[in-house]
Structures are given as structure tokens and as C-alpha cells.
Amino acid sequence: MPGKIRQTPLKSADRDYLALGLEGSANKFGAGIMKHSKDGSAIVLSNVRHTYVTPPGEGFQPRDTALHHREWALKVIDDCLTKAGVSMHQIDCICFTKGPGMGAPLQSVALVARTLSLLFNKPLVGVNHCVGHIEMGREITGAQNPVVLYVSGGNTQVIAYSRQCYRIFGETLDIAVGNCLDRFARIINLSNDPAPGYNIEQEAKKGKRLLPLPYATKGMDVSLSGILSAVEAYTLDKRFRTQEASADSPPDEDIITPQDLCFSLQETVYAMLVEITERAMAHIGSKEVLIVGGVGSNERLQQMMGIMAQERRGLVFATDERFCIDNGIMIAQAGLLSYRMGFETPLAKSTCTQRFRTDEVHVAWRS
């Protein structure tokens, strides 16, 4: 790319900065401590998470999830401080997820953040969850200006940076991809431990046949709810056999197994996601792609994205489950960036919101 390198508005740190990040917008409670050193490096001092796992066939309800966060918050934060070897007094700011997410869990975490802020007299920084994912992904992978595919249980967005804003180029028109996978896992009674998506991925490896499912891309947007209905309909098909029953049937019989369905579902929805990402890359002429969010830890998605990037002579950046799946450190990273730009959330405004779009955030720290 021709042209001069722009100066970043973020001044280099005059001293070491420490931030505590608290995240709890869905079924994970996470705490992390991020250090921005004087020499410009960012160091993850600790990153602790506890996940609320529900029995197979059940999702997590807001009320129970909030209870889980309240029960675990102090243990996780304590653990996180111990691992980092710092005390609360050394922290510069407390960052918490302002949104988007489930209301009750968000409120529980905001309450913890507020209490800590008052107890130790530390400033609060409210952080957009999606921006947290993006900033952490950029920090870990070193991607400069990538097209971001943000895929998780609640979000499916293709994002690119432009003029101090993360613009959404494409997103889901109905349910998020993680939600689609989670709900299918519930239908076929897969375990939620460690994550329904992970178990679908393992099952899909045993699937052999690709069943036709709707392929719904609309421009740079995707629609996923129809695919969920279609794949659910296969479980009522008379060729469908559960795992136990399929073992008894002769090898040449025309049957559909849960593994085939997992395989077909993954192949179809990931192909759609890679396609809209490719479209966005072509649209803005970018060669880098970064995958963030819980579904981003899926290796098949990473592999497909890799092939696509290779065909375009581009690069794909992805992180592992520590940073893909919701965590506290990403909130600390995004929060510390805006704190160093002089942003603080006064106590009276330290509310949280279920609806907080990625493009509403002023990205002051990038040029």
C-alpha cells in the first residue's frame, strides 16, 4: 500500500499501565489483567475464566447465568490477581463489559466493577464487547488492518475499520452462528461441556455425507434460522437414526446419522461465512482476515478461511480458545486503550446495555 505511515493517536506509555478487565455478557465469567509497558509491549499477566455449563439439551437462562456470575466473580478475580502477582492498589483502571449481551449477567458484572471501583478508588471504563474481541485479536496476532469475522454465540459480523470506527459490512439477518450451532446441539442432545460448538466439531469429523441445506447469503449478510429449521427437519426424517440405532443398520442402508447432520451443518454455514468474508475483502481490497469470537476457535472454519485467504494471496489470523472465547483480558485490552486516550466512565454512567452496536464506538486510539 503506497502512502506514508500514519501516526497513531495513542501516545507511547510514559509508565507501565495495568488494567483489570471483567467480562460476563454470556455464560462465561472472565477476569484478566493486562499490562502496557513503557517499551510499548502489551503483556497478559493473567486470564482466568469460569464457564456456566448447563446439562445437555438445555441452554443457559439469563437468571441462572447471572447467579453463576455472582457466585464466581470474587473467586475468579482473586485467582486472577494472585496469578498476575499484583494487588488491586496497583491497578490503573477497572474495565467492564458495557454491552452487548444478556441483561442480567451484564448487570451482575457491572455491579462487581462498580463496587471494586468505589472500594479501591479506581476509575471505571465501560467497554464494547465486540471491540474487545477485535482489539485482543489484533494484539495477539499482530494483524494491522484486517477484515474481521466476528462469530460467537450472539454475534455474527463482518467488520472492517474505517475512519475511527469499526464498520459492519455484513452480519446475520436473524440468529447468530453460535446460537444456530448451540441450538442444534440441544436438538441432538450433545453435551454443553466444554462447549456445544466444540462437540459438534468433533461429531462432524465422523460425518460422511453432505445433505442439502439452504445456502442463504444475501449480499454480505447471511441468514441462519432457516438452516437450523432445515437441519432440525432431518432429525424427523424416517432415514434418521440416532447413534445407537445407526450401529445396528447394514452399511449400505440409506440412513442419516447425527454425525452427518453436524458435518453438513458445519460445511454449509462455514462456507457461507467464508464467502461473505471473501466478499468483504474484495469489496474493500484487503488481504488480511482476522477471526474472533467463540466460533472462531473452530478448526474447520479456520481451515476453510485459510484456503480462501491463500487463493487470494492473503493472510488469515486466528487465535486459540483462550482469546477467542469470551474472556476478561480482551476487555482489559480495549479498556486500557481507551483509558490511555483519556476515556473514563463516570460512576453515574456505568450502566450496561443489551444493545450496543460495534459501530457505535469511537475508536480514538486508531488513526
Binding site: M1, P2, G3, K4, I5, R6, S25, A26, G99, P100, G101, M102, H129, C130, S152, G153, G154, N155, S162, R167, I168, F169, E171, T172, L173, D174, A176, L210, P212, Y215, T217, K218, G219, D221, E267, T268, A271, V274, E275, E278, R279, A282, H283, I284, G285, Q303, M304, M305, I307, M308, E311, D326, Q354, R355, F356, R357, T358
Partner: protein, 272 residues
């Protein structure tokens, strides 16, 4: 293995990314998930545009084959329907669904995206000075075509309405997917017209009579406007005004649905 006719045609034609037209044509295909070539069926014939949906290795081969086939066939079908109903689209010159090749008329002109402010941003997003230059260039370009921004928006609205009236849904309406014919290459029986707006890239199109689908089509365009062109609201308003005018009695239903779809859009940001 014998090389098919389409394959040998591709081998002898000019990939657009390397051609002189690259600047004006290349990114007009937001859908550059395919390769585009400029070709000639015979030495004397006018140039045609070849769209080659090459194999996507990230997709499961069966899925890829089915998608390629149905997209080529669907694109040809939609173009044909538009041509018959007088919507400005490129004419079809060849179809090879198995090989994934579609040949259409070559259009001399410029994409609407490039003619509007902000549309050339990707050429130099890191250089504000350069950006100002190109923005000034936009307006001069538009003058060359003899239309104002508002006139252009009106043409966009009318063309989309004509297409929706025959129940063709474009599926990927962006300012990159519309081209203005260059006045030099355009001769019309109506002398006041210096150019015409041509809708291109029907790769994601389908047929539907549903208000829902038409509303989503418009919503996709609205989003494309707001993500590509700064301060696009008045522009999109005049697109809708011209659209409403042409659609007539069908408009109120589509308008209501469009408002619904927009709300749906907002809901998406709920959880994370």
C-alpha cells in the same frame, strides 16, 4: 482431458485485473469471488465480459458444484427476464453452467460507486490528501456523464423498481453493482439522455413476488450506501423516492416491510 470450449476461450482472453480497464471495472464486481475476463467470440464481434466461477477449494466439492451451477443458471435466467422486461442489464452472449462460465455484453463506463463521494476510498485510505483529490475527481467524472448526483440516484431508484416489478430480486445491490454507460458508447433515441444506468452482477439474484424479499433487497442497498459513502442518507432518500414513484401502488407495502427489516437489523446487536 479435452479442454472445453469455455476453457479455451478463457485462456485466450484478457483477465481484467491486468487489463487497462482494471481501474474502472475491477472492483465493480464486489463479487470478485470469481474471475472476470474480457473476450471476443470472433475477431470482428464486440468484446464480451466473461464471468468465470472457478472452483472454490474451501467449499465441499459437491456444495461448490451445485452452487456454481445454480448461480450461473440463475444469473442467466434473471438477466433474460430483465432483458425481456426492459430493465437495463447487459445482454447474454454465452452460458456454460457446467464449467461455470457466463458471457455478457461488455459495458463501457464507470461504476456508480466510483462516481460518488467516498467510493474510491479503498484506493488510498491511508492518505487523506489523496482522498480529497479523488473526491474532487468524482464530481468531474459525473459531469462527464451529464448527470447530477440527484439525477443519478433517481436513475438507480427507477431501474431497481423496474426490476422488482418483474419480480427479480438482485440479492447484492451495492453501488459497485451499477454502472453508468459512458456517453461515447451510448446512443439513445431520446436526445436528452446522455447515459443510462445498467444493473450488473446478478450472481445472487432470484425470483420472488414477496414484499419481504424486495424490502431486504432495498435494505442491502441502504447498508451498502451507508458503509461506502459518507453522509449517504439524502442520496438514499432520493433513490427511494424514485423507486416509490415507479412502483406505484405496491410501494406502501414494501415501505412498511422495509421499516420492519430495519428494526430487525437493530435487534441483531443485542447479544454477545
Amino acid at each position: 482431458m479435452a479442454v472445453s470450449l469455455s476453457q479455451s476461450l478463457i485462456q485466450t482472453s484478457l483477465p481484467i485485473s491486468q487489463g487497462a480497464e482494471a481501474a474502472s471495472y475491477l472492483r465493480s464486481f464486489s463479487d470478485s469471488i470469481l474471475k472476470v475476463y474480457k473476450a471476443q467470440l470472433s475477431p470482428e464481434s464486440p468484446p464480451i465480459l466473461l464471468k468465470y466461477r472457478f472452483k472454490k477449494h474451501y467449499r465441499h466439492p459437491n456444495l461448490d458444484l451445485n452452487l456454481t451451477r445454480s448461480r450461473i443458471a440463475g444469473e442467466a435466467r434473471a438477466l433474460l427476464k430483465c432483458l425481456r422486461s426492459g430493465v437495463n442489464v447487459p445482454g447474454i452472449r454465452m452460458v456454460d453452467a457446467t464449467d461455470g462460465v457466463l458471457g455478457i455484453d461488455w459495458i463501457d463506463g464507470q461504476s456508480v460507486r466510483k462516481l460518488l463521494p467516498g467510493g474510491t476510498e479503498d484506493d488510498g485510505p491511508d492518505d487523506p490528501e489523496n482522498q480529497n483529490d479523488t473526491q474532487a475527481g468524482n464530481y468531474n467524472d459525473l459531469k462527464e456523464y451529464g448527470v447530477s448526483v440527484d439525477g443519478l440516484m433517481k436513475m438507480v431508484g427507477i431501474e431497481i423498481a423496474k426490476m422488482h416489478r418483474v419480480d427479480v430480486i438482485h440479492g447484492d445491490l451495492t453501488t459497485s453493482n451499477m454502472m453508468l454507460r459512458h456517453p461515447k458508447s451510448f446512443s439513445s433515441s431520446v436526445t436528452t439522455l446522455t447515459t443510462e444506468l445498467v444493473l450488473i452482477d446478478f450472481g445472487l439474484s432470484y425470483q420472488s413476488t414477496l414484499t419481504e424479499d424486495k424490502a431486504v433487497d432495498l435494505y442491502v442497498l441502504e447498508r451498502a450506501f451507508s458503509s461506502t459513502h459518507p453522509d449517504s442518507e439524502p442520496m438514499f432518500t432520493s433513490v427511494l423516492a424514485a423507486y416509490a414513484n415507479t412502483m406505484g401502488k405496491d410501494w406502501p407495502a414494501i415501505k412498511n416491510r422495509l421499516d420492519d427489516v430495519r428494526l430487525r437489523g437493530r435487534k441483531r446487536s443485542m447479544v454477545g
